[in-house]
């Protein structure tokens, strides 16, 4: 049986843990609102860009299509771009992402392709290195800035596009969580490069659109931008997901700590009473002996 002092110490330590998790939960709740607003604010741009891409892609096709759209012609070497968070304390979010990445990697390897990883965010590095240490070709550190924004997305996209142009890989997949709610974040894999041909746009109104410079030039300028937007979207989603998952995880942790405190308090009171009873018995026995 633990001594009274020990029990008291444990209760206090759980109490201070609870304070920390409670604080983290409230911080996450506040940040979640901001992250969600940012994700929503970024949506119009992505939608417009996708619409323009769709209408352009139908016009430029065949041999003249840029490589970012048409691909290298083979699909042997795959690159998995895995977007993770930089900080922990967000439940199973990173574990689920890594799991999704590994499932995808196994699938591709089973199909006889080669797989490489490009890691964004700190928390994916260690678990992926455990299984695929040699396949990690690069990564981007987002931990140096507080809120990864468009600038970071730009840098990542530029690096990926230059890797693609240097012929380092044929197909790139982006693996990131889609934020559904504070409770649910779905890890998703999406093809990033070559840019998947958008669903054929609803037939244009027949109006002849003039392009300046040409259609191909515009498409060429647009494709890297599209990749950037995709990555930026992923960064926004990961930010919202991190805060959402963190809020849920910390809520659970706070509740667990509360339960633990209750249990320990009961145990503490029982042993205190036991000690008092023993003392009384001793005193009475001593008095009787006289």
């Amino acid at each position: 049986m633990a001594s009274l002092k020990e029990l008291k110490g444990r209760i206090n330590s759980v109490k201070s843990t609870q304070k920390i998790t409670k604080a983290k939960q409230m911080v996450a709740a506040a940040k979640l609102r901001k992250a969600q607003a940012a994700a929503e604010a970024g949506r119009p741009y992505a939608e417009r860009l996708a619409a323009v891409m769709a209408s352009l892609a139908t016009k430029v096709s065949g041999d003249s299509a840029p490589r970012l759209l048409a691909g290298t012609g083979s699909d042997e070497r795959h690159l998995l771009v895995v977007v993770n968070t930089d900080k922990g304390l967000c439940g199973g979010l990173n574990a689920n992402l890594v799991k999704a990445a590994k499932v995808k990697a196994r699938e591709l390897i089973a199909a006889g392709k080669s797989v490489e990883f490009y890691l964004v965010g700190k928390k994916g590095r260690a678990p992926i290195r455990r299984d695929y240490a040699k396949e990690i070709t690069g990564g981007f550190d987002t931990s140096v800035v507080r809120n990864p924004g468009f600038e970071e997305a730009e840098n990542i996209a530029e690096e990926l596009v230059s890797m693609f142009e240097a012929g380092k890989f044929d197909v790139a997949h982006l693996i990131y969580p889609i934020f559904r709610s504070a409770l649910v974040q779905d890890p998703t894999a999406q093809q990033l490069i070559p840019v998947p041909a958008p669903k054929s746009a609803t037939a244009d109104s027949g109006a002849v659109v003039e392009y300046e410079p040409g259609e191909e030039e515009i498409l060429e300028a647009l494709l890297p931008r599209y990749v950037k937007t995709q990555i930026f979207g992923a960064l926004l989603e990961i930010a919202a997901s991190e805060q959402g998952a963190s809020m849920t995880a910390m809520d659970n942790a706070t509740r667990n700590a509360g339960e633990l405190i209750q249990k320990l308090t009961i145990q503490y009171n029982r042993s205190r009473q036991a000690a008092i009873t023993t003392e009384l018995v001793e005193i009475i026995a001593g008095a009787e002996a006289l």
Binding site: A41, Y45, G149, A153, V209, Y211, E212, R225, T229
Partner: protein, 85 residues
């Protein structure tokens, strides 16, 4: 009647309003867009976007960087990567 003008960046929808005319710094030269312009699409060089609220008003300038402009039936949409001011 006026031209519907939207300025969008990846981070947010900066402007969405009805204006008289917008002068866009296209890669092959500036072009002004009035209401009823033919469908048109152009890439943009870094420069100032001039917005005329009404025919005689002094233009409001917004510095934009990288992107493209699309003119359609619905008006003009400028997708810029960075916006200053």
């Amino acid at each position: 009647m006026a031209l519907h003008f939207e300025l969008v960046t990846p981070a947010q929808l900066v402007r969405s309003e009805d204006v008289h005319m917008v002068v866009v710094p296209g890669t092959e030269g500036e072009f002004g867009v009035l209401e009823g312009h033919a469908p048109f699409m152009s890439t943009i060089r870094d420069g100032a976007l001039k917005i005329y609220k009404s025919a005689n008003a002094a233009p409001e300038e917004i510095m934009i960087q990288g992107g493209f402009a699309e003119v359609g039936d619905a008006g003009i949409t400028v997708l810029a990567e960075h916006v200053a001011g």
